[in-house]
């Protein structure tokens, strides 16, 4: 079998004692693009952050495996080493650390000592990727995300994705705050990653992104779990009709979970 497999089984997650995920089941294989959609406040971003090990989220029940290895037992950096990547909705700004130094440290962190990427190879690869993402070259020498615009931060997340080449990537609202041109560029980068060794979980609020990236499977989240799954046609129907028909079908009155919308 090509690529890696991420298995999420009956995942329950709480934040400050309040349950946000109420039993998520999802399996992503290498070569597959999955989209998780749903209205605000249904737990989509919590799913993304919890899988990566965000310090604020507490796993109360369930399991997550990558290629059979227990992800929940791993530290955050070990999860990345195991092949996971999270493109964050709100990337941190880190002063004094240049984008390029950070990227090189990240690449070398997954290589053996003595097998670090050569500076020439690194620069060449970064230059090429930045060209593809239509990024200003001086962003390599700027401090990590510091003073970046919303759009620049999102491109920078995709730059990292493309340079680090994870087995499974989770993209948390990578489309939010992007204008149509930026959306096209970001989508181009993500589509370029598509092959049998790469699986992707795209979390989005809008169907818009899926005009540029065609998912193999579409899942709808409500009340902290996946309530409906289908193919790309499901995304199209959500675009045309909204979420009400699902709520009606399933008898859900309030689709949100927890107190925060």
């Amino acid at each position: 079998m090509a690529g890696s497999t991420l298995e999420i089984k009956n995942l329950h997650v709480a934040i400050e004692g309040e349950e946000i995920l109420t039993g998520v089941n999802l399996t992503i294989n290498g070569g597959e693009f999955h989209a998780v959609m749903g209205p605000n406040g249904t737990g989509k971003s919590t799913l993304a952050s919890a899988i990566m090990g965000h310090p604020k989220y507490e796993i109360t029940e369930g399991e997550v495996y990558i290629d059979g290895k227990d992800v929940l037992e791993m530290e955050v950096d070990e999860r990345a080493q195991a092949g996971l990547f999270l493109a964050m909705q709100y990337p941190s700004e880190i002063s004094g650390v240049t984008n390029s130094d950070f990227l090189r440290s990240s690449i070398n962190a997954r290589r053996e000592e003595g097998d670090e990427i050569s500076l020439m190879k690194f620069i060449k690869e970064m230059d090429g990727t930045m060209d593809l993402l239509e990024m200003d070259k001086n962003m390599a020498q700027r401090y990590l995300n510091e003073g970046f615009s919303g759009g620049e931060k999102k491109r920078n997340e995709i730059l990292q994705l493309m340079m680090l080449k994870p087995a499974i990537a989770i993209l948390d609202e990578i489309d939010s705050g992007l204008d149509i041109d930026a959306l096209k560029v970001v989508s181009k980068g993500i589509n370029q990653m598509r092959d049998d060794n790469f699986g992707c979980l795209i979390i989005t609020h809008y169907q818009r992104l899926l005009n540029y990236i065609t998912p193999d499977k579409v899942h709808v989240m409500m009340k902290g779990r996946i309530v409906k799954s289908g193919g790309p046609e499901l995304a199209q129907r959500l675009e045309d009709e909204g979420y009400d028909w699902i709520k009606q079908e399933l008898g859900i009155e309030d689709e949100t979970v927890g107190q925060k919308a």
């Binding site: 990566m52 950096d77 999860r79 941190s92 880190i94 002063s95 004094g96 650390v97 440290s105």
Partner: protein
């Protein structure tokens, strides 16, 4: 507190010490007057730091450091501070307060640049040194430690750059305390005469542990005359047993600039004062400092810029990292005197705490006696942001490495300002050693 200087350091000792160095009469008189004053003057009172139990009196003063034949005799830990690839070194090394090595390029000598140890300067450039020595910069009678310094000064450096001379290559001084109990009463004077410029970098180094007690009492006076520019860099790296009082003071005349980049990495108790007086119109003072506290270290840092000249500009940036049970106070003071119209005083103090027992206080203070000015300050004390660590670690970087990146990034604004690459790298390594 009774005066422990009577423990062997009396009038007779000071007279003999001065005579032994063949000093001119003015210096001997200054020392003896200062000794008298030291007996009655109070200790300095750094804000929020009690220093009454600090060791300022237990040390060895009369030292016999040896001259070196070549740089090869230096241990690696000193050699690392020197850029050895250069053909011509503008370098002065003082070992236990004795000049051990000195080198200045011929072109600078030909231009009249003076770069020599203080004991030699007092004899050979007596009038010039007298003109600047504890007159318009630091006064003898500010408190007991300034007076004690004046009485017991036992080393240092004198730099003079004549009018219109631009010194392109940095001048570097290394003050090495090899004898673990040696007292450094070090006096540094840097004078940039009209329309001249110079970059000076100094390193204080010792490796004494907590049981090996010593004292340093460092006074530094920097003068930038009209339209002159002085870039002053320092890495203080004195061992845990050394109690340090260091006072670096600048006086900037019309259109002059003084830029400080200070890496304050001592392991012992430290009081550090960095004052800049902007006397002339359009003068500029820029003070950037970084410090790391560890162990049970107590430190007090004050950066103060005083505006007298119109349209003068003062910038203070202090970044500190505190770990273990270290305590530090960071005072940033911008003072605008009446009449210094159109002046601008800006300051920023940031403290990063790495353990729950560490303590750091940032006190931004603006004292303004003039209406037509601009001023601003920012201060923060906090811990490493868990979200930053999460972000870095989510890319596969270990927690230790992630913390290292955040700390280096936090200190980078000052580290990057240091003018000599070897010193910059050395400071980075010193930081590495202290935070890990």
């Amino acid at each position: 507190m009774t005066v422990e200087i009577s423990l062997g350091y009396d009038k007779e000792y000071v007279s003999k010490f001065s005579e032994g160095l063949n000093e001119p009469e003015w210096m001997k008189t200054l020392r003896l007057d200062a000794l008298q004053q030291a007996e009655r003057l109070p200790m300095p009172k750094p804000d929020k730091t009690k220093i009454d139990r600090w060791n300022f009196t237990k040390f060895t003063h009369d030292l016999r450091g040896e001259k070196m034949e070549s740089l090869a005799e230096l241990p690696d830990q000193i050699l690392n501070f020197i850029d050895q690839n250069k053909d011509e070194q503008n370098l002065l090394i003082q070992k236990d307060q004795r000049p051990a090595f000195a080198s200045l390029s011929q072109s600078l000598k030909d231009n009249g640049v003076i770069f020599t140890d203080m004991k030699t300067a007092v004899k050979e450039y007596s009038d010039l040194v007298e003109k600047y020595y504890m007159k318009d910069g630091i006064q003898v009678d500010e408190h007991r430690l300034t007076a004690l310094h004046a009485a017991l000064m036992n080393g240092g450096v004198f730099v003079y750059v004549p009018e219109n001379v631009q010194v392109e290559e940095p001048l570097q001084a290394i003050f090495w305390q090899e004898d673990p109990e040696a007292a450094l009463f070090n006096h540094v004077i840097v004078v940039a005469d009209k329309n001249s410029s110079v970059t000076y970098v100094e390193n204080y180094i010792s490796h004494n542990n907590e049981e090996e007690e010593a004292v340093t009492n460092i006074l530094t006076e920097v003068f930038a005359h009209d339209n002159a520019k002085v870039s002053f860099g320092a890495v203080d790296n004195l061992g845990a047993g050394t109690t340090t009082y260091v006072n670096r003071r600048g006086v900037a005349d019309r259109d002059a600039k003084i830029e400080w980049a200070l890496g304050q990495m001592n392991d012992g108790y430290t009081i550090s004062e960095n004052y800049t007086y902007l006397m002339g119109d359009n003068a500029l003072g820029d003070a950037k400092t970084v410090s790391v506290g560890r162990g049970n270290q107590k430190q007090n840092f004050t950066a103060r810029i005083v505006h007298y000249g119109k349209a003068s500009e003062g910038y203070i940036l202090q970044h500190g990292v505190m770990k273990d049970k270290a305590t530090a106070i960071f005072n940033g003071i911008g003072k605008i005197e009446h009449g210094a119209t159109k002046s601008n005083a800006e300051q920023e103090s940031r403290v990063l705490m790495l353990s729950k027992d560490a303590r750091g206080d940032a006190n931004p203070i603006l004292l303004i006696d003039e209406d037509d000015v601009t001023a601003g300050h920012a201060a923060s004390v906090g811990r490493v942001d868990p979200m930053q660590l999460f972000y870095l670690m989510s890319r596969g970087i270990s927690q230790k490495e992630a913390e290292r990146l955040v700390i280096h990034g936090f200190l980078a604004p000052v580290v990057n300002q240091l003018p000599i690459d070897a010193v910059k790298e050395q400071l980075t390594q010193v930081i590495e050693g202290k935070v890990n």
